[in-house]
């Protein structure tokens, strides 16, 4: 079954792919709304999303979104939901790609080279999106070892002199606004939604609880990067475009060898490509579920061309991405929370809570 991955693979995917778009330019964007309390603003939606993870696990145990929707609301109902998901994941891929290309252009090149950045990026993401989910999952397993190496370097060779008291006092000023501001960045969340479209397979269903641990670890290491960032730069955090790059510049192995930030930067780029590839895979899978497989591929190609056409010619800086992300935050938030809970609810009601697919 080409939509099947193992628990181990799901664990690694959550660990690697969940934080990747939260540690690049998002901290700076959030800092514009919440100042040095940005880390709390980022944390709140992550905590709320654990409930989404629960719904996703439940739907997965009952056969996946496709099966649940077909049984509960019929083929046409399923097609409508899949169409909505095409738009959702397509928009997400657009905003992420815009941000990643801007990041690459700033970090990797002297001048703001756009077409040489966007073109290969679009091609490789489209290629990854064409692979089976098994290919994306196995790629994550390979890169997990690079993650361990980068983590080792970041932990043991970090020379940043961070004063954590700089993030105090917490939630001074308009606390309610700061705590809810994170939902305006909903475009950068919704990390568990792709798991609705695949099947997590394992002989022992108790092991599915490992996914909670993966979610917690992902939240921990996201905060492990965001908190030092806000502590180091405080109110000026909104002026620092790239949090990860700036923090990794403090990883120095020795004076002779210089910075050791490039393993983390390379890993980030690789995982970011996988993230966008996963979003595009979701576009393709939703399109194939909505129509026949061959037609789905054409829909996928059309979406990819539109996305990278927009980025290449119209969205050639990060501010366009922020505007799109900010403009659509309400429908994105609704889809992110509504679809999994709706699917979990109807799977319980229409199927009496029974598993539809035997392991």
């Amino acid at each position: 079954m080409t939509k099947q991955i193992t628990i181990r693979q799901a664990f690694i995917m959550i660990l690697l792919l969940t934080p990747v778009m939260k540690i690049d330019m998002l901290p700076s964007y959030i800092a514009g709304m919440s100042g040095r309390d940005g880390w709390l603003t980022m944390l709140v939606p992550m905590l709320v999303e654990f409930s989404v993870l629960g719904a996703v696990i439940l739907v997965n145990m009952r056969g996946g979104l496709d099966t649940v929707l077909t049984k509960a609301i019929g083929n046409w109902g399923r097609r409508i939901v899949m169409f909505v998901l095409i738009l959702y994941f397509g928009l997400q891929a657009l905003v992420y790609s815009n941000e990643i290309c801007e990041s690459i252009s700033q970090i990797w090149f002297d001048q703001h080279d756009w077409v040489p950045v966007v073109l290969p990026f679009g091609l490789v993401c489209a290629y990854v999106g064409l692979k089976t989910i098994r290919g994306i999952a196995r790629s994550s397993e390979i890169y997990f070892w690079l993650f361990i190496a980068a983590l080792f370097l970041a932990v043991f060779f970090n020379t940043a002199n961070t004063e954590y008291s700089n993030i105090l006092p917490v939630l001074s000023g308009n606390a309610a606004d700061k705590l809810t501001a994170g939902f305006k960045a909903s475009m950068w969340y919704g990390d568990y939604l792709p798991f609705l479209l695949l099947k997590i397979k394992d002989g022992d269903t108790r092991k599915i609880n490992w996914l909670w641990l993966a979610g917690v670890l992902a939240a921990v290491w996201t905060m492990a990067l965001c908190v030092p960032f806000y502590a180091l730069y405080r109110g000026a955090a909104s002026e620092i475009p790239n949090a990860l790059s700036r923090l990794m510049a403090y990883v120095i192995v020795s004076v002779e060898l210089g910075k050791a930030d490039w393993p983390a930067i390379i890993l980030w780029l690789i995982v970011a490509i996988l993230k966008v590839g996963l979003a595009l895979w979701c576009v393709r899978t939703s399109a194939e579920s909505m129509t026949k497989r061959r037609v789905g591929i054409w829909v996928y190609m059309a979406v990819v061309i539109v996305i990278y056409g927009i980025i290449m010619f119209f969205a050639n800086n990060i501010h366009v991405g922020y505007r799109i992300g900010g403009a659509f935050w309400i429908p994105v938030a609704i889809i992110q929370y509504l679809v999994p809970f709706f699917a979990a609810l109807i799977s319980g009601l229409r199927c009496n809570g029974r598993e539809m697919v035997k392991e």
Partner: protein, 475 residues
Amino acid sequence: MFASEKKDNIVTLLGNCFDLELREFDLGGDKLYVLYLEGSTDKELLSEQVLRPIGLEPGKIDTQERFIEVTFLPVKVMPVDTAKELSRHIALGEVAVVAENFSLTFSLRKVAMRAVTEPPTATVLKGPREGFTEEIRSNISLLRRRLRCSTLRLDKMQAGRYSQTDIVVAYIDGIASKKIVKKIKDKISGIDIDGIIDSSYIGKFLEEKTYSLFRQVGTTEKPDILAAKMLEGRIGIFVDGSPIVLTLPFLFVEDVQNSNDYFKRDVRAAFIRIIRMLGGIMAVFLPAAYIAVQEFQYQILPIKFIITILNTTSATPLSPTIEMVFVVILFEIINETSIRMPKYVGMAVSLVGAIVLGETAVKAGILSSPAVLITALSGLGLYCIPDEAGSFSMLRILFLGLAGIVGMYGIVVGIVVFVAYVVCFNEFETPYTAPYAPGVPEDRKDGIFKLALKEMKTRPRSIPNINKKRMGTDD
């Protein structure tokens, strides 16, 4: 049909070729003919076991059973009726006997073959040094010496309309997956080609991704390696005329392993495997990384390195990318020349390549010494994993091109594409990149790291096989 007519038909079908030998016997008025090819038959054995007894026989030999009684044949006989089939068997190197009431064939093949020696592609410091030869029966006997179990299965097939090449599918019943064995045999049966000259022909028909850079079928020239792989659940495919035996299913990690690893200390073996992996990575990425940091991402290098590189490269006329591509292609030409050049001239070519081209080109200022050094290191790394040297060599040129266009970003994009491509190989129900993707922790005991033999209590889970237990149970 009378015996003489049948005999005439056979001679005609074989084109009256010069090496066709015919012995005629008159046994009480009935004719009996023995036909064989001169170069393919053990004439001494034929004379002792067949011709002499027939010649000395006073009575008639009018049945197959009587023929077997009279002769002292140590081999199986097969009744064959038609002249066409008899001529086909003679062409395969068998002996045909045509009498009035019966006709049959048997094999007393004796062909010129080289001795069993250590194969040049798999030398070891310790361990067995026997290697397969081009004669399939000799190879089978070498395997039987290693696997003396009654469950060793050797299924014979044939392929090639003109070559009629013998192929033997070898596996251990009760360990190898029957589904995989059937799949392999079905694929071989489906081969419709004029001739099979080497086992690589069969390998290409068994692969699913024909134009992939990476091989999907394992090979070995040593019976001990083949026996070890078969004990893990793999299937061996012998092809007559080739000393290379194919093994399936195949994992990428097998190229990092070497038979030497099993005959030395495990810690040392694990260390050497890591060195091989690093050598392979260095071979593919070092030239590209050098170009990327020199032309695009120079901020990665410490200042001392940048100054050294600038000092040595400032006078060279070529851009770093062109220079590196030139040196890499030059290396490929020297490599190819050293393989093809006659042995006696090979030393001179190596000296020309190393000293004249390398040193002189640097002194003349055409090439920079870092470029030559990087290419030499990369070339050494290629042969850490010799079976993938060709693939890695092409990959490094690809990454070199990407690095020349967009620097480290191009290398990263290339890595993502390469990994996404390789992890999706799933031939014969075996993930190519197992046991690392998908993760199979039990199999990592003999992956890049190597634990002691005592720890390997089960067969690999990455390969389809029956009977997972290796130790502590009766088969």
